[in-house]
């Protein structure tokens, strides 16, 4: 009787553990606990007056939601690219620089210190979207038509991206004069929650609607799992892969808007640096296979916030920003080792060896 119950309980734990959201949620809980022990006031949200004189919410949670936005948006596109092509785009940081630079070029009209903006913000944003999608299309073309491995194909823009970004603005660093532009990466007067949170929420709602009202999810997964089979079912795998890169390009443009707006200017070699690593990590953390196929976009988005949580935590522990990478790398390795099927196999064998007696008793 008790044995039965035990078996049931084990079964339940197994089902929970096999859920894709389990690992990111577990990581989230662990991080929360560590932070609470370290600083019991970690989750407190205070009202503070910001530089512009408005009362806004402030606290570690707000920081995580705020700075996790770009990553969450990129994770959406990266998940699709990963699922469809079985590879990752390592050029997103560089293409954010390109899209951001294009945005500034339109806003400032080639003049690095304009008195007013030279074009409406919406126009600049649309231009950035087009530029981002063009970069995505370039990557997508290399991957889908020329069949170059995604990581290598995107290596081209990874190498050239920041240079192209600098070239767009003649290597100058234009400053956007309009304070309204800063709203996107900061606060809208009177609203105490960072705008980035809303932008991320809008993107998430849009992708949710797209996944609900189109077959994007089904097609992408089918292509990622079995390209040949998908083709014989009338899907055009070349187009689906291409499309996933273009969608990522769009995500890049939105992320670029936030990044550029945070500073109202750009630093070509630093903007969105290493963000590709975090975006790929978010996808992996969400339990999505980096070799493509089935995906769960919500797990990726959750993964993105977990990573931001980790970053914030590391800062809390006074880890210098330059050294952050080393700690994150360790976390990545632990994660991928635990999710590697081979590693699991070895662990199971090891456990079996350790207690053969218990096995027999059962």
């Amino acid at each position: 009787m008790t044995k039965d119950k035990k078996g049931n309980a084990l079964g339940v734990i197994k089902t929970i553990a096999s859920n894709q959201l389990f690992i990111p949620l577990l990581a989230l809980v662990l991080l929360a606990v560590v932070n609470l022990i370290n600083d019991p006031t970690f989750f407190e949200i205070k009202n503070v007056t910001n530089n512009a004189g408005y009362i806004v919410k402030s606290g570690a949670l707000i920081t995580i939601l705020d700075y996790g936005s770009e990553l969450a948006i990129l994770a959406i596109g990266m998940t699709l690219v990963t699922a469809a092509s079985g590879g990752q785009d390592i050029s997103v940081g560089a293409t954010i620089a390109i899209a951001g630079s294009a945005m500034l070029r339109v806003l400032c009209g080639g003049n690095s210190r304009p008195d007013t903006i030279q074009a409406p913000i919406i126009v600049a944003f649309l231009v950035a979207c087009i530029v981002g999608m063009l970069c995505g299309a370039f990557n997508g073309m290399l991957v889908s038509i020329f069949k170059i491995q995604p990581m290598i194909a995107t290596l081209i823009l990874f190498t050239a991206g920041r240079s192209i970004a600098a070239w767009i603005n003649n290597n100058e660093l234009p400053i956007v004069p309009d304070p309204k532009f800063a709203y996107f990466g900061g606060f809208i007067p009177g609203i105490p929650i960072p705008t980035t949170v809303f932008i991320a929420a809008i993107c998430i709602v849009i992708i949710a609607l797209v996944l609900k009202f189109t077959n994007l999810g089904l097609y992408t997964q089918a292509v990622g799992i079995n390209e040949s089979s998908s083709r014989l079912n009338g899907i055009n795998p070349t187009f689906i892969k291409f499309l996933s890169f273009v969608i990522l390009g769009l995500c890049v443009a939105v992320a670029a808007l936030i990044k550029v707006s945070r500073l109202s200017t750009i630093n070509y070699s630093v903007i969105a640096k290493d963000i590709e690593m975090d975006a790929i990590l978010a996808v992996a953390l969400g339990g999505n296979a980096l070799s493509g196929g089935k995906f769960n976009i919500w797990a990726s988005i959750l993964g993105a916030y977990v990573i931001q949580f980790l970053t914030t935590t590391l800062y809390k522990f006074n880890v210098p920003s330059d050294a952050l990478a080393a700690y994150k790398a360790v976390v990545v390795i632990i994660l991928v080792v635990f999710s590697a099927p081979k590693a699991r196999e070895y662990m199971e064998m090891f456990v079996k060896k350790l207690n053969p007696a218990r096995k027999e008793a059962a």
Binding site: K212, F213, T214, N215, L216, L218, Y219, Q221, A222, I225, N226, S228, S229, S230, R231, L232, N233, G234, I235, N236, G293, K294
Partner: protein, 501 residues
């Protein structure tokens, strides 16, 4: 007797997730013996061989070589023990030279004398009459030559046990003869040869003994003279011939008003898969088929009809109207469905659920912006799971967890859901259990009686004879004849395939 026993495998068990590939199988090979390993696709032949060569670890059982128990953990172990293998699909490295492919992975030492090796390789190639040079890159050789190189590699390794896993499928008659000569020579030298093939003629030409497997179980071991062909086939299928009764008589022909109307017609159709241009038509409610040896181009023909390969030329008419079919979706829009030959590579989408696999084709046809609701998808899936008797615990199960036969039924359901006018089935019965085979054949006739046109391809001629009313015969990637009515007999088909009246 025991002195001549070379290899003894006892109680071999091997399971994969959801499949018991080998259940307690025994196998014995004597010195200087050519031993055929027979069974249908999926019977466990390949698994047994891969266990013997260390590709798969076995779950239970033991292997003895020359009376000594051996543990084989990797292909390297197998090689070192004197077990060499030639696989059906070429397992060489296309980017290396012929000589490297023959010698790599063998011997000790860090440095190698490539001059010596190239000379040795050339000598061996010459003695075996293989038209290749030692220093040539392998990918620059034809497939047949590559296969011969693989055999040369195996032969040169002073092996005690030589395993030939369907080595003849890409060889022509002369090359097969050469191979048989070689096998007989090796047999004289005391090598034990395990020969896996689908060609019964070849078995009876060179083999001494036959071991039959079915559904992962040992059926028995027989002296070749004690086992006539008909019985061999019966053992492989697990049924006496009479059991597979004539199902054709049970169903009715389609008698609609438009019976006899030509549904699909192709003229001079050609694809880049290397087939000669061919003409083809099918009438409403008709079941016809392409027949010919493996590699004769029958699959390539139907792939061309469906637009699965790149179309190079030809005219296609559907219901008498000119249409363009360049890619699968064009064919689907014209009511053509195609169940591909290789279920794993072209059919299933492994990680997706049974439900998603069933609705996929119809969903694509409906359009990108019109996904089915959950309820609709469930209804479709449930309908066909019941109709085709698909054995799955739920529609949410990933298709790769199902058995081969059930996977095939899911793919069939996918195309039936589309309600095609013209259904192409390329080897739908390959590697699945006999019950499902018969069920699929019955279904084909039933569908035809309701007015669907079906093209049915099978390696097993008797299946085609049972279902088809017209057979297109192919040889060397060319259509060489068409048989109907009283001409539909085994002998006539064989004669047409062989050619030369």
């Amino acid at each position: 007797m025991n002195e001549t026993t070379l290899l003894k495998m006892r109680g071999i068990v091997k399971s994969f997730p959801g499949v018991r590939a080998l259940q307690n199988v025994d196998f014995t090979l004597n010195k200087g013996e050519i031993h055929a390993l027979m069974g249908e696709n999926g019977a466990g032949k390949s698994t047994l061989i891969k266990v013997l060569t260390g590709v798969y670890p076995k779950d239970a059982g033991n292997i003895e070589l020359e009376g000594k128990a051996v543990a084989i953990h990797s292909p390297q172990d197998a090689q070192n023990l004197g077990i060499s293998t030639v696989y059906q699909e070429i397992t060489l490295c296309p980017n290396l030279t012929v000589a490297e492919n023959m010698f790599i992975g063998r011997g000790e030492g860090v440095l190698t004398n490539w001059k010596q090796i190239n000379a040795d390789a050339d000598k061996l190639l010459q003695s075996l009459d293989i038209p290749a040079k030692a220093t040539q890159q392998l990918s620059n050789c034809s497939i047949a030559v590559q296969q011969m190189v693989a055999i040369a590699r195996a032969v040169d390794m002073d092996c005690k046990v030589l395993i030939l896993d369907e080595p003849t499928s890409s060889l022509d008659e002369q090359e097969v003869e050469k191979l048989f000569g070689l096998m007989r020579d090796l047999k004289e030298m005391g090598v034990g040869i395990i020969f896996v093939t689908h060609f019964l003629d070849q078995v009876y030409e060179v083999c001494d003994k036959i071991t039959v497997l079915r559904d992962g179980q040992l059926v028995g071991e027989y002296e070749i003279k004690d086992l006539p062909r008909v019985q061999l086939v019966a053992k492989m299928l697990g049924k006496e011939m009479d059991d597979l009764s004539d199902i054709k008589g049970e169903t009715n022909e389609y008698k609609g008003k438009d019976a006899g109307e030509i549904v699909f017609e192709a003229k001079d159709l050609q694809s880049d898969a290397g087939i000669k241009p061919f003409d083809f038509f099918i009438k409403k409610g008709e079941v016809n088929g392409f027949t010919g040896l493996l590699g004769s181009g029958r699959s390539e023909c139907v792939r061309a009809i469906f637009g699965a390969d790149r179309i190079l030329g030809g005219k296609v008419k559907v219901h008498g109207k000119d249409v363009k079919i360049n890619k699968p979706i064009d064919a689907m829009r014209n009511g053509i469905a195609y169940l591909p030959e290789d279920r794993k590579i072209d059919g299933i989408i492994g990680d997706l659920s049974v439900r998603e696999n069933i609705i996929l084709a119809l969903q694509v046809l409906t359009g990108f912006f019109k996904p089915f609701s959950k309820a609709e998808a469930n209804a479709f899936a449930d309908e066909f799971i019941e109709k085709l008797n698909i054995k799955t615990s739920s529609a949410d199960k990933p298709i790769k967890a199902l058995s081969g036969g059930n996977q095939q039924k899911v793919i069939l359901a996918r195309w039936l859901l589309m309600h095609p006018e013209y259904l192409i089935l390329d080897e739908p019965t390959r590697g699945i259990d006999v019950g499902t085979k018969v069920a699929i054949q019955k279904l084909v006739l039933e569908l035809a009686s309701e007015g669907m046109s079906v093209t049915f391809i099978s390696s097993e001629t008797d299946e085609m004879l049972r279902t088809c009313s017209r057979l297109v015969v192919m040889r060397d990637r060319k259509v060489v004849g068409e048989l109907t009515g009283d001409d539909l007999t085994q002998n006539k088909i064989m004669a047409t395939i062989a050619g030369g009246e």
